[in-house]
């Protein structure tokens, strides 16, 4: 192959081959130099931009008289650092409670309305309760409890604000204020929502005086902590006086209004044993022709024992309440009477409670005679958010046959952690 190509050509090729790398090397040097220059220029420009930015900052800082940066703070572990942002933290704390049950009664007509009166025996969704709690502003805390029954009817069980402090110190120290619709502070049981009942149904006397739904009314109240060596609290509440049971006031009634007083006393007998003594009084006009007075007086006594070393495994609660009421009438003799209950709740293991209650309605006798009821209950409580309860009750009455009733209830709560009332 070499022989067919002329020599000068070969020389030329060789020369080119030698020259090209040299040339390209020189070219590389030039490019490299250019690149370096460019890099330097870039760096300079960067510096200039930075300087400009800083000057700009200094100028605005000087203009706004901004403080120098604060000292570095220690690691603060406050709010959860979720990506949800701060908007969420203004949402109310929400919890939902469900009550599902089943029942069998030997006398359906007698059965309390904890399930539909037309729905005698069998399973039933008793109620769903939605609770929303949040601070309104530094002065008010709001609480809404909406209950939805099996028919889908929504009821504002409670909707109120409370305050311990108002602008200009309008609210004196040791005083609390409550406005809205709420369970009246009469005795112990009336303050409880259905899912907080120690037994599946209401005590007979509470039902006889205040009806199936208890005494809850629009109104306002103040409570005052007395400066006594023990816990002593006075509560006064004024309310609409619409309660079906006590006032029998219809929408047509023109003169309404009821007033309540409650005095609560609480003593620690030891670290594990406490006693609570209370009395309550309520009075209001009823719907009878002459707008006569309806009154009720209540006494309550509660003893609790919970050994602190075994606070999750043992407890005993003995609760008693007596209520006397008098519903005056224009012509007929007044409707009056009284009743009581006494209940014992014993926690014998971490997840188990056994309970008993005696109800006596008719001391003094009511118009329809007297009723006695004995109730026993066994509860499996897997956690503070769920309970499965089985209850039997036996009732005797002056007029009518004795009744046996068995109820089963599942009680569950989801959502925000509710604090537990003592």
């Amino acid at each position: 192959m070499v022989s067919i190509l002329p020599k000068p050509f070969l020389c030329g090729v060789l020369a080119i081959c030698l020259l090209v790398p040299a040339l390209s090397h020189a070219q590389d040097n030039v490019i490299e130099a250019l690149r370096r220059q460019m890099g330097e220029m870039q760096a300079t420009m960067q510096k200039m931009a930075e300087r400009l930015e800083q000057l700009e900052k200094e100028r605005t800082a000087a203009a706004a008289n901004v403080n120098p940066p604060a000292e570095p703070q220690p690691v603060v572990a406050s709010a959860p650092s979720s990506g949800k942002g701060t908007l969420n933290s203004f949402n109310p704390a929400i919890s939902v409670n469900g009550l599902f049950g089943g029942g069998y009664s030997t006398n359906p007509a007698f059965t309390q309305r904890w399930y539909d009166p037309n729905f005698h025996n069998g399973f039933n969704f008793q109620e769903a309760e939605f609770q929303f709690t949040a601070d309104v502003d530094p002065y008010w805390k709001a609480n809404f409890i909406l209950a939805v029954d099996r028919a889908g009817k929504v009821d504002i069980e409670e909707g109120y604000v409370t305050s311990e402090q108002l602008p200009y110190d309008l609210l004196p120290r040791d005083t609390g204020l409550k406005l809205g619709k709420f369970y009246a502070g009469f005795g112990k049981h009336n303050l409880l929502h259905t899912h907080q009942f120690p037994f599946i149904n209401r005590p007979l006397i509470s039902q006889a005086v205040f009806g199936d739904e208890g005494l809850k009314e629009p109104g306002m109240g103040v409570s005052y902590l007395l400066p006594s060596p023990w816990f002593s609290e006075l509560t006064f509440q004024g309310m609409a006086g619409e309660n079906d049971g006590l006032f029998r006031n219809g929408a047509d009634s023109k003169r309404r209004g009821a007033y309540l007083g409650h005095w609560k006393n609480f003593f620690d007998l030891s670290d594990s044993t406490t006693v609570e003594l209370g009395n309550s009084y309520i009075a209001g006009r009823n719907s009878d022709a002459g707008h006569r007075l309806s009154q009720a007086i209540g006494l309550d006594l509660t003893m609790k024992w919970r050994p602190l070393q075994q606070s999750t495994e043992r407890a005993l609660i003995w609760q008693n309440e007596y209520i006397y009421f008098n519903r005056e009438r224009e012509r007929d003799p007044s409707s009056r009477g009284g009743g009581l209950y006494s209940s014992l709740q014993y926690q014998f293991a971490r997840n188990w409670w056994v309970q008993g209650r005696y109800d006596l309605l008719g001391v003094p006798k009511l118009d329809d005679g007297r009723k006695n009821r004995w109730t026993t209950l066994l509860a499996l409580v897997p956690s503070e958010f769920s309970a499965l309860r089985l209850q039997h009750s036996y009732t005797t009455q002056t007029h009518g046959k004795s009744v046996n009733e068995i109820l089963l209830q599942m009680n569950f709560t989801i959502g925000s952690h509710p604090a537990h009332q003592y």
Binding site: S78, D271, T312
Partner: protein, 298 residues
């Protein structure tokens, strides 16, 4: 006459003012450990009362009205925070009707362990969404708490500031000296694996360089299933776990059975000041814990 009345009134005013100044600061704390720290810093100048007793599980305190009275009288309240007291403290503060009271959450400034990174659900048991709240079980955190306490007390009673500073200095140096000794005492056991009943010893383990191989509780606050216990016993036998820790308020039946099966020692530790009779202050707590732990791991 008028002058006399004015004078006596002025004297009365002065004396009551003086009496008020001399009155110790009313402080309430949620737990006995915080109370012990406040006492160490405040000394005679504070009257401190703890709501939870030292021998009680601080998760399950009841919001008794008598505590409402205590909170009603307090000038300042110190709590552990991280939702440890969520089941009872809000009711006490609301019921107390004492809006001028200062509430101090001592968890700010603490490097919190076990902050959940993923979503939390009650299916996981009693999880604390803000992280493990048992941080007082590391003496280094005790010092952070004490500094905050001193700062807050000084804000309220500036006249006693020097005393609080001195007490803080003493507290810090006492902890520093003792900590060195405790750490030396526990040094041979660094890296040892233990089993605990509840998830409450993480800060202690973290401080002493100990590992947790498992829990008797399946999920925090939820009693264990037989299957979980079986697995735990196997793990403990495989890893030759020497000690099982439970808090003094734990029912010892289940942990005792597990310990017996595996040959591990059941160590009932006080997790709070007052958990045992001889634990009267914050350093005593670690004296007791370190003593028992080192004996069990030998």
């Amino acid at each position: 006459m008028k002058f006399c009345a004015t004078l006596s009134f002025a004297i009365l005013l002065l004396t009551t003012a003086a009496a008020r100044a001399a009155e110790p600061l009313a402080v309430v704390t949620t737990t006995a450990d915080v109370a012990a720290i406040v006492k160490a810093i405040g000394g005679e100048r504070v009257a401190v009362e703890s709501i939870a007793k030292g021998y009680q599980d601080p998760h399950f305190v009841e919001a008794k009205p008598s505590f409402i009275r205590v909170v009603n009288r307090a000038r300042i309240l110190f709590n552990v925070g991280l939702e440890l007291e969520i089941g009872w403290l809000p009711l006490l503060i609301q019921g107390a009707r004492n809006p001028s009271m200062i509430v101090v959450d001592l968890s700010s400034g603490i490097a919190v362990l076990e902050k959940p990174t993923g979503p939390v659900s009650r299916a996981q048991g009693d999880v604390h969404p803000l992280g493990n709240p048992h941080y007082w079980l590391d003496p280094r955190n005790g010092v952070i708490m004490a500094r905050r306490v001193a700062q807050e007390l000084k804000n309220l009673a500036a006249a006693d500031g020097a005393l609080f500073d001195q007490n803080l200095k003493n507290f810090e140096s006492e902890i520093a000296t003792k900590r060195k000794r405790w750490e030396e005492q526990m040094a041979p056991f660094r890296g040892a694996q233990l089993v605990t009943y509840h998830k409450e010893w993480e800060y202690l383990m973290n401080w002493l360089g100990l590992g947790v191989a498992g829990y008797v509780e399946d999920k925090p606050g939820i009693p264990a299933t037989p299957r979980h216990l079986e697995e735990l016993v196997q793990t403990m036998q495989q890893k030759k776990i020497k000690a099982l820790l439970a808090s003094h308020y734990t029912n010892p039946n289940v942990p005792k059975a597990v310990a017996d099966k595996t040959g591990a020692k059941l160590v009932m530790l006080a997790s709070s000041v007052g958990g045992e009779e001889n634990i009267k202050n914050y350093p005593d707590l670690f004296e007791s814990i370190v003593g028992k732990l080192s004996a069990a791991l030998k």
